[in-house]
Symmetry: C2
């Protein structure tokens, strides 16, 4: 069932974010402390549920991007730790609400919060984390950072609503799908990156560079995620092959295979995605059709395209260890499908 993808840059060896982890290690220790303290509440259920999410082993890519982007412009204060924590809280709140909306049972190989504590608690603890995220941003006191992050919050929600429409609609065009992931995934990466130069009082150009880096990294990240759902290694993602398929989610590999397929194949996709006939045999057939039409490889190709834009966005900036580390993040995202 594996998908073999030839990466042009396969000779570089497996990409890693070790440099990013190294550069942000001390700051991330403080982010992790802040996460625990700001997820605290006298209302027991809140820290209990938050602990579950915190221990669920995400890579914390977004807050690391914020920290590196602030360091990159010589930021010497304390605000970046709070902003990075806010970004992670916004992400966590989105996951909580997403799992309710998608009726998901598992995330990263663990039961979702809603399966343990119910949809009610997931909605409300998500709201609480979002409130805490805004409090921390306000505490930092940068109206520009607040502007970027609050705009992202509205756009993310807008993207999630758009996805309700797209979800089971096989006629979705690639452009429409890109608009959805630009809002639901890329907007937060973009904001996470941009608040770095903002808090460091860097120039408008620097802000624009980091914003563009974040947006395109986010698009690449989501497309790779979509491809991984139909093959590639699962060790990295903690996601099972076929999760999106079983949930009837229309993602780019599906869109491409559907649009390129025969009438008969389209009937198959309709049964699988629209009528929920998505068992293991159907999944195997789906992957076969995707490979026949190059749908997975081309999804990865699109991801690589956005990765290159992200790279060029940073190109004019001074070479710093942080810049190198952010380049690594792009390679790392793409290499997850290698």
């Amino acid at each position: 069932m594996g998908v073999v993808v030839n990466l042009e840059d396969g000779k570089r060896g497996p990409a890693s974010i070790d440099r990013l982890i190294g550069l942000t290690k001390d700051d991330m220790a403080r982010v992790n402390e802040l996460i625990l303290s700001k997820a605290g509440s006298d209302v027991e259920l809140i820290p209990e549920l938050a602990r579950h999410l915190i221990s669920s082993g995400g890579k914390r890519l977004r807050p690391m991007v914020t920290l590196a982007a602030a360091q990159m412009f010589g930021y010497a204060g304390e605000g970046h730790v709070k902003l990075a924590t806010s970004v992670e809280f916004m992400h966590t709140a989105t996951l909580l609400h997403d799992d309710v909306v998608d009726e998901s049972d598992m995330r990263r190989g663990k039961k979702t919060a809603r399966m343990i504590w119910g949809n009610q608690a997931s909605v409300l603890v998500g709201d609480f984390l979002l409130g805490q995220a805004f409090r921390m941003m306000v505490d930092v006191g940068s109206l520009d950072a607040l502007d970027v992050l609050s705009t992202a919050a509205a756009i993310i929600a807008e993207g999630e609503v758009m996805q309700l429409d797209v979800a089971k609609n096989l006629e979705t065009t690639e452009d429409e799908y890109l608009a959805v992931i630009r809002a639901k995934t890329a907007a937060l990466f973009s904001a996470a990156a941009e608040v770095g130069p903002i808090i460091a009082q860097a120039s408008r150009n620097d802000r624009a560079a980091l914003r563009s880096f974040g947006t395109n990294l986010g698009l690449a990240f989501q497309l790779v995620d979509d491809a991984l759902d139909y093959g590639g290694s699962t060790s990295d993602l903690g996601k099972n092959v076929g999760d999106d398929f079983r949930e009837g989610k229309v993602t780019l590999p599906v869109i491409l295979a559907y649009r390129r397929g025969s009438e008969e194949e389209r009937q198959f996709w309709k049964r699988a995605i629209e009528d929920n006939e998505a068992d293991e045999a159907a999944l195997e057939k789906a992957i076969g059709l995707m490979n026949r039409h190059g749908a997975i490889g081309d999804t990865i190709g699109r991801a690589r395209h956005f990765g290159e834009i992200a790279r060029d966005a940073l190109a004019p900036l001074k070479n710093t260890p942080q810049k190198a580390a952010l380049f690594d993040v792009i390679d790392f995202c793409i290499s997850r499908v290698s």
Copy 2:
């Protein structure tokens, strides 16, 4: 089934918020415009669902309080309209999420959004409105107002989580219940009132006065609402008598009747609230028991107590039409049960 309550100040005649409406009329016209424009989105479902909420005929008490509180201290700018709209959006987002959490079918005599567009859309459009609320606050640019409103957002969510515990727990004490409504209802009234003096750059004492007014008005408002659910006129509220009872919600009238009741009566309450045996006959019996123990009258008494605190909070302030209008709001809230 009606409940007769003798109000000590019954001689004043029916209270009205006409003065408040008159004072805030022009500003509210702009709030209403802003609501429509900020609930706009290219994602069709969002304005569609938002229009449903907007036309559902709430009194918009909270934004009117914000406007009057800003006018009261001579505020002459434009920011109060945005803050008032933010407050209303926060309230609307809470209603959307509440209806999902409570699985409510009706609100103010209309089908809830979740019954028409589903839980998914209700969660996500709530998130969108919250994001838009924060964007407007950021736009106003007052970090103090942002601080107060973002703190309120976190506290409201915390209160909603607390309520999950309280919901069907008849052993809840009055203090525990007050802590819940202080968070879930009073925090927003408090913030709505306090941002007025904040934006008008009034003194710390003025801020504290309005904050205290809002908190206690919110407590009174919620307790009257609780009492209305077991009697009083429904014409004003668009809420049917017995809604809380049928949902098995523990509110103050239930807490008082349960604690004052015999062992046999407590068994009845357990069947009704915990085991959902809450049919019309049970509702009639519940109201009978409440009247026997003075539970509804005393709930209104508690509301009046908080109303008095709200009044004293404003007492030292200069007499202005706005102050008189805010006094009216207290009387109006209490008089809904007269």
